[in-house]
Symmetry: none
Subunit: 128 residues, 4 copies
Amino acid sequence: MFPIDARDSRPIYEQIIDQIKEQVMKGILKPGDQLPSVRQLASMLTVNANTVMKAYTELERQEVIETIRGKGAFIAMMPSKVISEKQIIEVRKALKSSFVAMHYMGMSKQEVMAEIEKIYDELSKEEE
Amino acid sequence: MFPIDARDSRPIYEQIIDQIKEQVMKGILKPGDQLPSVRQLASMLTVNANTVMKAYTELERQEVIETIRGKGAFIAMMPSKVISEKQIIEVRKALKSSFVAMHYMGMSKQEVMAEIEKIYDELSKEEE
Amino acid sequence: MFPIDARDSRPIYEQIIDQIKEQVMKGILKPGDQLPSVRQLASMLTVNANTVMKAYTELERQEVIETIRGKGAFIAMMPSKVISEKQIIEVRKALKSSFVAMHYMGMSKQEVMAEIEKIYDELSKEEE
Amino acid sequence: MFPIDARDSRPIYEQIIDQIKEQVMKGILKPGDQLPSVRQLASMLTVNANTVMKAYTELERQEVIETIRGKGAFIAMMPSKVISEKQIIEVRKALKSSFVAMHYMGMSKQEVMAEIEKIYDELSKEEE
DNA sequence: GTGGTCTAGACCACT
DNA sequence: GTGGTCTAGACCACG
């Protein structure tokens, strides 16, 4: 379904969260679509069920998905737009940190911008 | 000297690393400039000396600073240029993750781009 | 598991690093093999866990091992190939220093060469 | 006189010791030759006099030089040939460590051997 | 004074 | 269980 890298420094449950959000953004997953069950996804990704559970719980908290008892988990109908100040500060810090890192990798602002465009293209392009 | 946020999810030593790199990028710290000693910075930030030590060690490894035995730590003369494939992949993932997060915060690509410009301005503007 | 000499002038964490690299080179440890956990190795060697941690962190940075969160540390699949100019200069200095020392011990070039062959044999010979 | 690198990881006093031994080995300094005084050498190298003192003391202990009160320091007449088991073990460890490092830098045994020959050539060639 | 190593022990995040 | 961060405090080598 999607690639999980156990060697990645980012925790697996976070990778799952991001992958699902990404698929929604790309339109691969649409509002109302049903997600695989915790156990199913766990066996697909060969990770622990608790790890998937943690991802789903967090996704629900963020209102990206909705879980209905006895039915399963579904992509939420209404995209959440509650933006907390905290989140904005967090993402700004993350961006700044990335830019400093890229600067130290010898990339000019232009090169960084090109990289950003590239990533944005990927995100809007629907993949199989 | 610079702000350390104990409640931040990122480890303290990483925050120190980023702050110093940022100050170099802004031109506040220039090649050859002496950094505060490990113990000094530790007491300034009210963190443990070992934590500062860890940051300095990593900065030296990245060739951002040079330490001279018995003398102290200094901003490196030669900007480092060693880039590993791993680093590039990491930073791309980080960017993508930020963009997905911003999308979920309801920001359009244009708004994201404006945000990026703003952060870049901050990074090139010398602060007091 | 392997010998650590507290009286050795070289730091313990460096001795651990070298021992593990040596075992990989000899083929005793193979790509994918799991290493003892930080705490296990610490108690085996009767050193502090932080000391072993430091060694593992550095080995990961050098891409000799990979650590997987919650699972443990493993010998890396891909042999690392990142070489910095600095490292080459360092190792040349170390060699020169050794040769000067051996000369002062009254060893001729031939004797030195014989010694080198002997050490190389040891390194390629798989030990129990 | 000879190059001292404060940024080098090796202590300055050790660099001085090695440089003097190297010059003796190359024949630039011959038995009976007078060395510069501690203060002279210190100012030549722009290092602390205590540091040079430490180097001279160690060189005398190793019987590489002889100091005569009121006269100065001289290269020893008899090359010392006392070899302690300890020294041999030390130098073997150093060599092994270098070889492992070179192996990890992707150098084959042949390449290492070529490197060794090169260093040996340098050591026998009298320089200005 | 400086950096660097090491210990002991706590606490956290992840699986 | 695993690695990872952090503190507090000791001791050493170097200049």
